[in-house]
């Protein structure tokens, strides 16, 4: 077994009334790592079955949303004999802090892993205000 406390089961994403689904498909919440650094935040998500052409990343205000579509090869003319995991799309939403430089966000997908680099915006330089002696 990998991590001691790891639950191998896939988590189905919670639907809120806001997201009405148009695809008749299961939707899972991908497992993610979020790594916080001085210059950037990295979000890594396991999205097996997904490549760069099937991921949608949207940023609205400070809500970053990932939606990844899965089109698996379901073997033809075969019966399912062992069933341990379901197959479906992935969806997850993150709230970003205002510090992120939205223009420089980068996303890559490799071997079913989505990596998002969120560079931090340079902090507004502190303005020095001179205090003049009263006349």
């Amino acid at each position: 077994m990998a991590n001691d406390n790891l639950d191998a089961r896939k988590k189905e994403a919670v639907t809120t009334e806001r997201d009405e689904r148009t695809r008749e498909r299961r939707v899972y919440q991908p497992a993610v790592d979020i790594i916080e650094g001085r210059v950037q935040t990295t979000i890594i998500a396991d999205v097996p079955g997904v490549d760069e052409s099937s991921v949608d990343i949207t940023l609205e205000k400070n809500i970053l949303e990932i939606y990844a579509k899965v089109d698996p090869d379901i073997p033809q003319d075969m019966q399912l004999a062992v069933y341990e995991y379901g197959i479906g799309d992935y969806h997850r939403r993150f709230t970003l802090s205002d510090e992120i430089d939205r223009e420089r966000i980068q996303a890559t997908v490799k071997n079913g892993v989505l990596k998002l680099l969120l560079p931090k915006a340079e902090k507004a330089k502190t303005q020095k205000i001179e205090v003049k002696a009263g006349a």
Binding site: L6, A8, T42, D46, P48, G49, V82
Partner: protein, 143 residues
């Protein structure tokens, strides 16, 4: 089992629905087994089987597959991310480390004819039923 391209209402079978239906049937029979990592699905026909598992972000060289009779063993490892000095995990849900899992197949397989591919983080293994394990066809002679 009847292999038909049409369901009872005569519509063409949607593979997705078919998958959902078959998975429901197995769950009802209590045959969705223990959830040992990594999770696998096994598909079978009379003479071949396909095993799929979702193991994203692996180096194919770190995946080890072996078969003996009707037992398939999957082993592998995935390293965690290399963090920079100033970086810390804010959230850590992805798996990391080593795994080993035995899967019992519906029949004995030909160990020399195992085919595996790793695509988009999904490992697909195809196996062929062993010749010796195949049911013998019995011819019926007429008088």
């Amino acid at each position: 089992m009847l292999w038909s391209d049409f369901d009872r209402l005569g519509r063409f079978v949607d593979p997705w629905r078919e998958f959902e239906r078959m998975s429901r049937d197995l769950s009802r029979m209590g045959r969705s087994s223990a959830h040992d990592f990594p999770l696998v699905n096994v598909w079978a026909s009379a003479d071949k089987a396909v095993i799929t598992t979702e193991v994203a972000g692996m180096d194919p060289r770190d995946i080890d597959i072996s078969v003996a009779d009707e037992m398939l063993t999957l082993k592998g490892k995935r390293q965690g991310s290399d963090l920079q000095e100033d970086e810390t995990y804010h959230r850590r849900e992805r798996w990391g480390g080593q795994f080993s899992k035995n899967i019992v197949l519906p029949f004995r397989v030909e160990s020399s004819r195992v085919d595996a591919k790793y695509q988009k983080g999904v490992l697909t293994i195809s196996v062929q039923r062993a010749e010796a394990d195949k049911p013998r066809k019995i011819s019926i002679s007429s008088e």
